[in-house]
Amino acid sequence: MTLASPLPTRPAWVTRPLTVLAAVRRQPAAGVMGALLVLVTILGALLAPFLTAADPLALGSDTLAEPSWAHPFGTDDLGRDVLARVLYGGRVSLGIGLFSAAISVGLGMTIGMVAGFFGGLLDEVLMRITEAFQILPKLLVAVVVVSLIGSGLLNEILVIGLLSWPATARIVRGRVQVIRHEEFIAAAEMSGAGPVRLLARHIAPNVLSFLLVSASLQVASAIMSESFLSFLGLGDPEHPSWGLLLQQGQLFLQQAWWLTTFPGLALAMTVLGLNLLGDGLSGSHAAPARSRR
């Protein structure tokens, strides 16, 4: 909006062209740029074997070597090629992010739809639980759980996925509450559709469109969460993610800048891309206000 002193009763045709113009001018650019960044990282991870001949786990004699033609991103303390580790690390980070997000979005959608659809006591209880999960320091919970039950890809995915659903649940619930009162739902109800059918056939399709937004933001957040766990030394050393590379980099921060710079760049690019994509898809430049009211 380009209005400095806003009017409350601006006729629709005054505001609409302006908002649409502003949106068209800014949103797609951000969204497209985000999509491009994400595409680059996905391609990098998928095409890793074609982009480098090096093995991310193969030890070499050339330890802590600066970036060169042989090793564009340098080598680590055990002589492993950092470029290969970043490319293959993308598979781990993106994979964990994708699977965790699948769990959290699925769970959040189910809980949000049930709470928003049935309302009443069930809604009250589910929202209290959601609020509790939202307040608790989820990354610290993840740290304690993974420390106690052991690290490993599956554990990381499960823990991050099971802790990250509240944001999606709240948005979906709000959306369902609006749809619930629309006429086509009443019509379907009158023609004898049960709650399961209503939810699956009539409400879910209306929520799906903006689950895309939620999903891309959730993947970003899951990748960040994973890098947090790995940075604290709870990653799977067999499958080094970007977070794990950064943890190793921390040990040689003063000697080898390339160990932190490149994996961090990949991580930041991916997360930024996903956030841009999510923002672009949602059509609003600012994050949605999360009000308690």
Binding site: T2, L3, A4, S5, L7, P8, T9, P11, W13, L18
Partner: protein, 331 residues
């Protein structure tokens, strides 16, 4: 006759657009308001009446372009500095807005918000106590019981009618010479509407405040205003004494507007809605803006726009074929 309090000439408001002609929402609007006069502006939503009212206080959206002349007591408002216009807002000219539910800041006390209106223009810098007393007096004036106590309330603790009264109290806090009321009763219950209207009438009678009343409700105009201005598609299409305009309209639009209002003395007759839609200001339309909906339109109506021309004492109409008033009643 004395000099007009407010004198508007050839007022225009438009929104420039990129790579397209700008959208004009107000064009060629001219009228005067005398001290102590109550003038009504009627029109549908989108007719430019609110934009006209807001131009007077320069409260238009930032992207709006203002043209023409607005003189208040002989001073050109579009030429004032930001500071001069701020000194005028709320002190000499004040405004009451449509929705009393959203016009108060929800997190500040009612009394503090009214007090702010006073303090902003208080050159004598009265103390807190004097300010509190003045606020209580104002709330009492608009008929709020227990005013000193209620001043400490928050907006959500007031009913809609009480908020509109408090809003009016805030607008008259500095005894302005002109009060612009933009749809002051639209959001209210009928009984509360009457209270607010009598409040406005009292203000006018007791302190001589001139009032510019923006409304789409003809009954409100009939009960309060001596003069009425009818706007359509950003233009003044008729301007005259209320009783004349309402009983013997000269513009077909005014006539159809009156036909669409239920009247007690004509119970049982059919109400006729005006066919069609007002023109979109983003697409230019040649000729009279009403011609596509006008049952009497001729060829020249679609080619050339008529000017607002006098048609009787203090009565003007913007039409090539003004109705003769007698025929209108018979239609």
């Amino acid at each position: 006759m004395s000099a007009p309090l407010l004198s508007i000439r050839e007022l225009g408001v438009s929104f420039p657009r990129k790579e397209a002609p700008s959208t004009t929402v107000v064009e060629g609007v001219s009228f005067d308001i005398m001290p102590g006069e109550i003038v009504g502006i009627v029109g549908e939503s989108g007719s430019g009446k609110s934009m006209t009212a807001r131009s007077v206080l320069r409260l238009l959206p930032k992207s709006a372009e203002l043209s023409g002349s607005i003189r208040f007591r002989g001073r050109e408002i579009p030429e004032m500095t930001d500071e001069e216009i701020r000194d005028m807002r709320g002190a000499l000219v004040s405004m009451v807005f449509q929705d009393p539910m959203t016009s108060f800041n929800p997190v500040l006390r009612i009394g503090d918000q009214i007090g702010e209106a006073i303090a902003l223009h208080d050159r004598a810098r009265r103390g807190r106590r004097a300010l509190r007393d003045r606020v209580a007096k104002l709330l009492a004036l608009v008929g709020i019981a227990d005013p000193a106590e209620r001043a400490r309330s928050y907006p959500h603790e007031f009913s809609g009618g009480m908020r509109q009264r408090a809003l009016t109290a805030m607008a008259v806090a500095n005894s302005p010479a002109l009060l612009i009321a933009d749809e002051p009763t639209t959001a209210l219950d009928v009984t509360v509407q009457d209270q607010v209207l009598s409040l406005l009438r009292e203000l006018n009678e007791n302190s001589g405040t001139a009032i510019l009343l923006i409304t789409h409700n003809i009954a409100v105009v009939a009960s309060l205003c001596r003069r009425v201005i009818v706007m359509y598609a950003g233009r003044v299409i008729e301007d005259g004494p209320t009783d004349e305009v309402l009983t013997a309209p000269r513009h077909p639009y005014t006539w159809s507007l009156l036909q669409s209002v239920p009247r007690i003395d004509q119970a049982g007759t059919r109400l006729t809605a005006i066919k069609g839609q007002p023109p979109d200001p983003a697409t230019p339309l040649a000729g009279c803006k009403f011609h596509p909906r006008c049952p009497w339109a001729e060829q020249r109506c679609g080619e050339q726009e008529p000017a607002l021309s006098p048609i009787g004492e203090a009565h003007g109409v913007r039409c090539w074929l003004p109705m003769n008033g007698i025929a209108a009643a018979a239609q």
